[in-house]
């Protein structure tokens, strides 16, 4: 791969057009957040795709050279990128500088001219999803800003970027909805195909084939997505076993896909009848009903203005009354990452810290996953002005095989 070329003026592909529309939505959102917080510029400073906020800043993540992408509260946005990278930011920024040898002069000139009093850069101690700037680049950046007396103007972009990640625009919600729909189609394919005697590994491989057919990729590490676990095993981040499924087993699949950069994260339950059985084993049915009811309760409780821990607390108490516990958070956000960071629906403790105290806002997408014992049901919802909307219909009955 060489870095020599200039960009061509080729006609835009559909994907490029979609990308530009999405960037335009996110930049408009960023400008409005900058104005709200009185911050003058949001600066993404990256090289070799190092900053996980690049998709929000430019609609892609493929910039090789040192880059400075700036969205200002007022006035034209500016991208400073290596000359061979200009094609990647075309259409996304009002002004594009493609440097050949050195990014620094044009960067300093731009800042001198625009003279921002507050410069927001991508770091956060508590939220991994907005902590995109590397420490080496932080040093490089502050040395550059020192040359023009602006090093003391930087601050964390978290107030901007956490909302950029969290509050999905209509185009983003549509992509997550599609990711959920494809995930559910693959679950349905599993239901039509799976039988006792097959192994967790075979189910895993079947789902991989279905992903290829639907042209999607897993929304977390492929070794554990899908996570396929029968009720005699422990679910989680371990490879599937070669132990055949037996009648009387439950089956749990934790799985999601990326559709055009956006993730889904769902869990479903199956049950394999023993000879003569017509229903799910009572213990599994009771656990399933508890989870479904807990999810329904969460969906009813969630509304703009409530805090993350409030939802978790109510649901956790209900699950406890039913004789179960779950030790993890009730739900996390989903977006360009499966664990999209920011506000959690979780308990107040050292593990989750201040990640559960924030306010729920319309446009946030959450998982609801009060998983108990080693069984799991998980749904994805988007917060609306009034409450929530399911991103795919929730599971209401165990799939019986």
């Amino acid at each position: 791969m060489t870095n020599t070329s200039e960009s061509n003026a080729l006609p835009l592909t559909e994907a490029q057009i979609a990308r530009r529309e999405l960037v335009a939505e996110k930049h408009a959102q960023a400008r409005s957040l900058l104005q709200k917080h009185g911050i003058d510029v949001w600066l993404t400073f990256s090289r070799e795709g190092s900053d996980l906020l690049l998709p929000y800043a430019m609609g892609g993540e493929y910039l090789v050279g040192q880059a400075a992408l700036m969205v200002f509260a007022e006035g034209p946005s500016v991208a400073i990128v290596a000359d061979y990278d200009t094609g990647q930011v075309e259409g996304a920024f009002d002004v594009i500088h493609g440097y050949h040898d050195d990014w620094l002069p044009v960067f300093l000139d731009t800042l001198r001219e625009r003279n921002p009093a507050r410069i927001a850069i991508n770091y956060s101690e508590s939220d991994s999803g907005t902590d995109g700037l590397t420490y080496g680049l932080y040093l490089r950046l502050t040395k550059a800003l020192d040359q023009i007396g602006m090093a003391d103007r930087i601050e964390s972009s978290e107030p901007i970027t956490s909302m950029l990640r969290a509050v999905k625009t209509p185009l983003e919600i549509e992509r997550i909805r599609r990711a959920c729909a494809i995930t559910q189609m693959i679950f349905d394919d599993v239901t039509a195909w799976v039988r006792p005697g097959l192994t967790e590994m075979q189910v895993h491989e079947f789902i991989n084939e279905r992903m290829q057919a639907y042209e999607v990729t897993p929304s977390w590490d492929a070794s554990y997505c899908p996570s396929v676990t029968t009720s005699r095993h422990k679910p989680g981040h371990e490879p599937p076993s070669d132990d055949p499924i037996r009648p009387g087993d439950g089956l749990q699949i934790d799985f999601g896909v990326f559709f055009e950069g956006y993730a889904s994260d769902l869990q479903r339950m199956w049950y394999f009848r023993k000879p003569g059985e017509t229903e799910v084993a009572p213990d599994q049915q009771h656990a399933f009903d508890t989870m479904v009811e807990a999810i329904r309760m969460a969906a009813q409780l969630i509304e703009p203005g409530k805090r993350g821990y409030e939802i978790d607390e109510a649901v956790r108490n209900y699950v406890k009354e039913r004789g179960y516990t779950f030790t993890h958070a009730l739900g996390h956000q989903v977006g360009r990452l499966c664990h999209d960071g920011g506000l959690l629906l979780g308990p107040r403790n050292a593990r989750y810290g201040d990640r559960v105290t924030g306010e729920i806002v319309p446009g946030m997408v959450f998982t609801l996953e009060p998983c108990i014992h080693d069984l799991g049901v998980e749904e994805n919802i988007v917060v609306t002005e009034e409450g929530v909307e399911w991103l795919t219909p929730p599971q209401s009955a165990v799939y019986i095989i």
Copy 2:
């Protein structure tokens, strides 16, 4: 995806065994580098897979919770990870602490007990490949170290990690060799199939199908890998066109694949004869010969102890004498990233800075790509004690269609 499970004691898969062997090689290398530099511990501090050095530290990149992975110059290595992540580091570390709520107490206890005088962490201003620590995590880490009076003991791990990245172990070289072999097989498939009338886009899609067949993924952004360009267009990071290939066109493909986490990065040239032609158009042949000769010269010049810019300078002069120029570096390193960072074979200028002044060391893998005009040939070599070894046989004649 929930985070509740404990790890299962399942039998190891072949991939897990291979991963452990590789981690053992890299940890041994890290210990030896730590001893050489008098540094006591190499610390990788990450969450949600945030540090690009995780594959070297643990043989994977999938740690969800806050993690501290420590390889000491002397004594047992230690991994501190969330309880649900312990399965990811099993076999890679001598001591594994899986915390439930809070990583901090066990982290501080470990450091108090081992009392390292010099703590190397992953940041670098100049080398993106070793700049893995985010600034938010840097702040979190230094606050933690402050509690035990060790914040002033940290320094950049670059002397360790740049060599860990650059100096490939036998298992790593084998993987890159396989990646190169598969890339060449796909080039051969193209040669057998491609005809005038097909478009760049169709060649692009054909290569995508071949990647699926060989079960490999592109070694850089899929939109531009392969980069398929006829001689009437400009190669680079732009999508392929729908303009059909005509007799008299040259075709250049810049392409690489990942095989078990390791990349290849090769370029090949084709020529489509006009009716009656038996040979390549003279201008394209002359350019091709120049590149092949320049690559041969580079391969002869490279040996341990020489500096990156020395090789570039000699080759650049030769190419200039032949009436061409190339503006980018002669070669970059290849490894877990296609642009693996560290030492470059490049010219001394502001763009490349001190990245071209380092010493060539056995085990480094470089591209050689003196691409001129809009034509390109690119080879991959590994440095040996005596000189270089080709990782796949170099192209010696234009493929004539």
